[in-house]
């Protein structure tokens, strides 16, 4: 069983929901990424989404855009991101890690080379924001050949037909984008999310994570009541931006927010 599947199985047995933090690899500096990942796990993260910086992050709001720019200014490449994953894996062999990013750096490296290198580094899944199922076949073949889970997005605009299409290809979990917009946008509408999750679950048995618009413990707990996983990104990356020159405080604030989300999610369950 893949690390992602076994993570969700363990959680389900204990009646808990997954907390999934996102940070951009190499932000604010590459040396801080691995310690931050370990600290987030210690604070209650069940699975990690690690962003691969890209020059043109079309689906992201200003907070993640600037995170990409900070990482790219230090020359963080996809290969270097894989090195960071390898370093993380030396100490943590259980927490699943998903790379999240855009297609072009992967295409530039070559699908097969990327898939092999990612699997060897200890990556568990790959979420490519600008790769809908219609265009995914070639990358999918390369990922599945090395047992990497392809993670797909669903959105408020996804029709039942599209949900079916995604469900047929997705592995690991499905990421439901809770609102029409970019990352870090307005707060989500819990009622809407609940209704859409009901529809999605008609077509897939995979765990469903919800992201976009989750900012604090209260919104995390509210989403955890509906979804299998809660994804938090921009709220964490905002702290990195504000405290990029104070690494210790940065880690304290991020772990503090995650721990508060964890408590609220577990209390609500």
């Amino acid at each position: 069983m893949s690390r992602i599947a076994s993570c969700f199985q363990t959680l389900r047995r204990s009646g808990r929901k997954a907390l999934i933090p996102y940070i951009t690899a190499g932000d604010p500096q590459p040396a801080l990424t691995v310690p931050l990942l370990h600290a987030m796990v210690a604070a209650g993260a069940d699975l990690i989404e690690l962003g691969v910086p890209f020059s043109d992050p079309m689906a992201d709001g200003p907070v993640i855009q600037r995170a990409c720019e900070r990482a790219l200014r230090q020359g963080v490449s996809l290969r270097q991101v894989l090195e960071l994953v390898r370093a993380f894996r030396c100490e943590d062999r259980t927490t699943p890690l998903v790379l999240m990013g855009y297609l072009n750096p992967i295409e530039c490296m070559g699908y097969q080379d990327f898939a092999r290198a990612a699997a060897a580094a200890g990556v568990d899944g790959v979420l490519t924001v600008d790769l809908p199922p219609e265009e995914a076949q070639e990358l999918l073949t390369a990922l599945l050949a090395v047992d990497l889970d392809p993670i797909f997005l669903l959105a408020p605009t996804s029709t039942p037909e599209r949900i079916q299409k995604v469900a047929a290809l997705a592995r690991g979990y499905v990421y439901y984008v809770s609102l029409k917009g970019v990352t870090g946008a307005a707060t989500l509408d819990v009622l809407d999310v609940g209704q859409k999750l009901d529809v999605i679950r008609r077509y897939t048995d995979l765990p469903v994570g919800v992201g976009f618009g989750i900012k604090d413990a209260a919104s995390a707990a509210a989403v955890a009541r509906l979804a299998d996983a809660v994804v938090v990104g921009s709220a964490l990356v905002s702290w990195i931006e504000q405290l990029e020159d104070e690494p210790e405080r940065l880690q304290t604030e991020i772990t503090g927010l995650l721990a508060a989300m964890r408590r609220a999610m577990d209390a609500g369950a």
Partner: protein, 405 residues
């Protein structure tokens, strides 16, 4: 070239927007249904007699079509060689070919019940053309423009504001056209229900490269009819500048099936292809995925998109329409590049010899004509797309000549 005779160019792109390995729909899930909705609407209305009649009437009465084809006798004589014809898209309302497309997409937006138009712009010509049709239809309009372009094309920024549009200066990334496109996509994804995104070039996700090509192909269809009426024979060569590539596709497409017509797409070599300061992905880039389609890109070894340079804001883009990528690979169109200084020399020459001030974008095509014409015979002809007029560039040219206006 003979190998290409068998290709039916009207069959491309395929139903999912692919030109061979290029094109496609590489966008986040939220936009997929919007693209399908757009495609369905476009398929329906492109065949709809009322839509076609309204579009034709607008192109005639509002845009001023057909645009003339002008035999530049004095310039032809001076260069010695082929007869040179200018397709005068600079005489269109708003001063460039861009309006052919915005008129079409705005009519589509109206029929789809959208109330808000957004656009990206580089030189500002597409932004002005979008703001213009928005004003005419009484629709809200937001134009995204890189901060650097806002500064160097301030005249067009003011034109857009006069027309009632909101111009948003984009400060992310390299602050040019590519970043304006990112920001327009972000707007669209956020307000996808009521907003129509008018992309200004033959790039972006399917169906944009197809739709913009069809709206711009009026240029080539007219050229064909005008030349056949004039001399009874097809041109020997077509020349157009290529940024995203909409004016070039518009001129080229109706001639792709005529193997005797040679075609030259002219990219911006900026300060020179070897300096790294240019915008010539077809000449020196490689295939990748950006802005919803697979095409030739300027990228570094890690797949990060590179900043570009051109004296012409409208060509300052690291990608290119996917159909051009395909036409390059199959060898149907020759893609070449000219430098800033070659384009400026052509700008001055046409102005002085023919009394026509061309846009800096179009000046790249003219600069290549200066090389090409002397290699042809006097009975041969070249049509160059004079895609826009140069009024917007006067300040830039003056500054380069050391003159403060």
């Amino acid at each position: 070239m003979p190998d290409n005779i068998a290709i039916d160019f009207s069959q491309f792109p395929d139903s999912r927007g692919h030109f061979g390995p290029y094109g496609g729909q590489f966008v986040a899930e939220t936009l997929m249904e919007a693209l399908h909705e757009l495609h369905r609407a476009y398929q329906r209305y492109r065949e709809d007699p009322d839509f076609v009649a309204e579009l034709d009437a607008d192109l005639a009465d509002y845009v001023g079509r057909p645009s003339p084809i002008y035999h530049a006798r004095r310039w032809s004589e001076q260069l010695g060689g082929a007869r040179i014809y200018l397709k005068r898209e600079d005489l269109n309302h708003t001063g460039a070919h861009k309006i052919n497309n915005t008129v079409g997409q705005a009519l589509l937006a109206k029929r789809m019940g959208k109330t808000r138009l957004i656009a990206e712009t580089g030189a500002g010509q597409h932004g002005v053309a979008t703001a213009t049709v928005a004003a005419r239809l009484g629709m809200e309009c937001v134009v995204y423009m890189g901060l650097e372009d806002v500064h160097r094309q301030s005249l067009n920024v003011y034109r857009m504001r006069l027309l009632g549009a909101t111009v948003v200066a984009v400060e992310s990334g390299t602050r040019t056209l590519k970043d304006a496109l990112n920001e327009a996509m972000r707007d669209w994804v956020t307000q996808v229900d009521d907003t129509f995104y008018i992309i200004g070039t033959v790039a972006g996700p399917h169906p944009y490269p197809l739709m913009v090509r069809e709206f711009q192909s009026v240029i080539g269809r007219e050229t064909r009819a005008q030349l056949l009426a004039d001399g009874g024979r097809l041109p020997d060569a077509l020349v157009a500048c290529v940024g995203g590539g909409s004016n070039a596709i518009g001129l080229f497409h109706p001639f792709l099936g005529d193997p005797q017509v040679a075609m030259y797409g002219v990219e911006a070599a900026g300060e020179g292809l070897k300096t790294g300061h240019h915008a010539a992905p077809l000449c020196v880039g490689r295939p990748g995925v950006l802005h919803g389609n697979r095409t030739y890109l300027l990228e570094d070894d890690n797949g990060q998109i590179l900043g570009t340079h051109s004296v012409s804001a409208g060509l300052d883009y690291p990608g290119v329409g996917p159909e051009h990528a395909w036409l390059k690979d199959i060898g149907r169109v020759n893609y070449v590049a000219v430098t800033d200084s070659e384009a400026l020399a052509a700008f001055h020459e046409l102005t002085r010899v023919e009394g026509i001030i061309p846009a800096l974008e179009s000046s790249h095509a003219l600069a290549y004509v200066r090389q090409l014409a002397p290699t042809l015979q006097p009975q041969q002809s070249i049509v160059v797309n004079l895609s826009g007029r140069g009024d917007k560039d006067i300040n830039i040219v003056a500054a380069l000549d050391g003159i403060t206006l």
